[in-house]
């Protein structure tokens, strides 16, 4: 897939890193010149400096052929405009916006944004569900009408998966481990990769098997 990410803050940075490791074609657009320059040092040609809420920038970035456009700047009005321009001018099949202020969420979904991701809401939901921090699951991206998610999950302290190779784990149908996060390192796993304690994993899961995967780990 060709994915355009607008906003090179912490979320945009990590999302780009992850999407590249998952072998997607990615373009990260960042408005601040200095920040963009430092991102180029990490991601090279996958970075473009420019204001992603402007038509010429998105055109130069190839928005007309992007499969997904993700707007994750820190400003909600910017994220809204980016998605609306992408939809209106470039007929983007899928737009995803980060919503910083939960009050804006309703507006976004009625205004041509296909999916919204609100960290405030996610964290709030976690608190309300009284989920332990060590079993925290953060849906990073809800894809294709919300049926498939990319989630981050930490191995539980007493996980039976510790020390096992990926190939030894019987994953539920509809779940794939796409990355192992070990300290600052991101491992793109093969069947031989071993899970060790304190690992976190990124998994692509169908919603219905999310709970199964969670139990397993």
């Amino acid at each position: 897939m060709y994915i355009i990410v607008v906003g090179g803050g912490k979320i945009g940075y990590n999302l780009t890193k992850f999407l590249l490791s998952a072998k997607h074609e990615v373009l990260l657009i960042e408005k601040d010149e200095a920040r963009a320059a430092s991102l180029v040092a990490t991601f090279g040609e996958s970075v473009m400096a420019g204001d992603g809420s402007r038509v010429p920038t998105l055109r130069e970035g190839g928005a007309n052929r992007a499969d997904v456009l993700v707007a994750v700047t820190g400003a909600d009005e910017e994220n809204l405009v980016i998605c609306q321009v992408a939809k209106t001018v470039f007929k983007s099949p899928r737009t995803i916006a980060r919503v910083n202020d939960p009050r804006d969420e309703g507006l976004f979904s009625s205004m041509g944004v296909d999916a919204t991701v609100s960290s405030t809401r996610v964290i709030n939901a976690l608190i309300e569900e009284q989920v332990n921090a060590d079993e925290m699951i953060i849906p990073l991206l809800t894809l294709r009408a919300g049926n498939v998610e990319i989630i981050e999950m930490a191995l539980s302290v007493d996980s039976k998966m510790t020390g096992k190779q990926i190939r030894e784990i019987h994953l539920p149908e509809g779940a794939r481990i796409i990355a192992i996060l070990r300290g600052d390192e991101v491992i793109v796993p093969t069947g031989e990769s071993k899970l060790i304690s304190n690992d976190k994993i990124l998994a692509l899961v169908k919603k219905e098997v999310e709970q199964l995967l969670r139990k397993l780990l």
């Binding site: 402007r54 400003a75 009005e77 910017e78 809204l80 609306q84 209106t88 009625s110």
Partner: protein, 134 residues
């Protein structure tokens, strides 16, 4: 008419001062109190200091139905977001949005909004003058 203006800058304050003299009621909203300095003291110019995204502020401004909402903050992105939020919440029929960027102005015209683009206006005025001197 009851006219609500968001942004009490050079444009917003001048529109308010001009329209109140025509007998209209003006509600001017700005986040910064000092921006109201350019507004005339008049019983029919009401000032609201606050963020339009706060319910308290928007209710103050739109508790009575507005005939026109003019959105002229300094940011194109803020203007289009506010316009859509207020339209959705209060079903205001006439909303005028200022957008400096001509491309963006076209996008939101396509989406059915009434847009004023000072950049396009300036360009066409300059073209007119150049045409006149040729």
């Amino acid at each position: 008419m009851r006219i609500v203006i968001l942004g009490s800058g050079r444009v917003g304050s001048r529109i308010a001062n001009a329209m109140v003299d025509k007998g209209h009621t003006l509600i001017v909203i700005d986040e910064k109190e000092r921006k109201f300095k350019a507004l005339n003291e008049h019983q029919d110019i009401h000032r609201i200091e606050g963020n339009i995204f706060d319910d308290e502020t928007s209710h103050l401004a739109f508790s009575e139905t507005a005939d026109v909402f003019i959105v002229v903050t300094g940011s194109d992105n803020v203007n289009v977001m506010v316009a859509q939020a207020i339209q959705k919440k209060y079903q205001i029929k006439n909303i005028l949005i200022r957008i400096f960027d001509p491309d963006l102005a076209d996008v939101y015209r396509m989406l059915g909004f009434e847009i004023i683009c000072p950049t396009s206006y300036t360009i066409s005025e300059i073209k007119k003058i150049l045409g006149a001197v040729q």
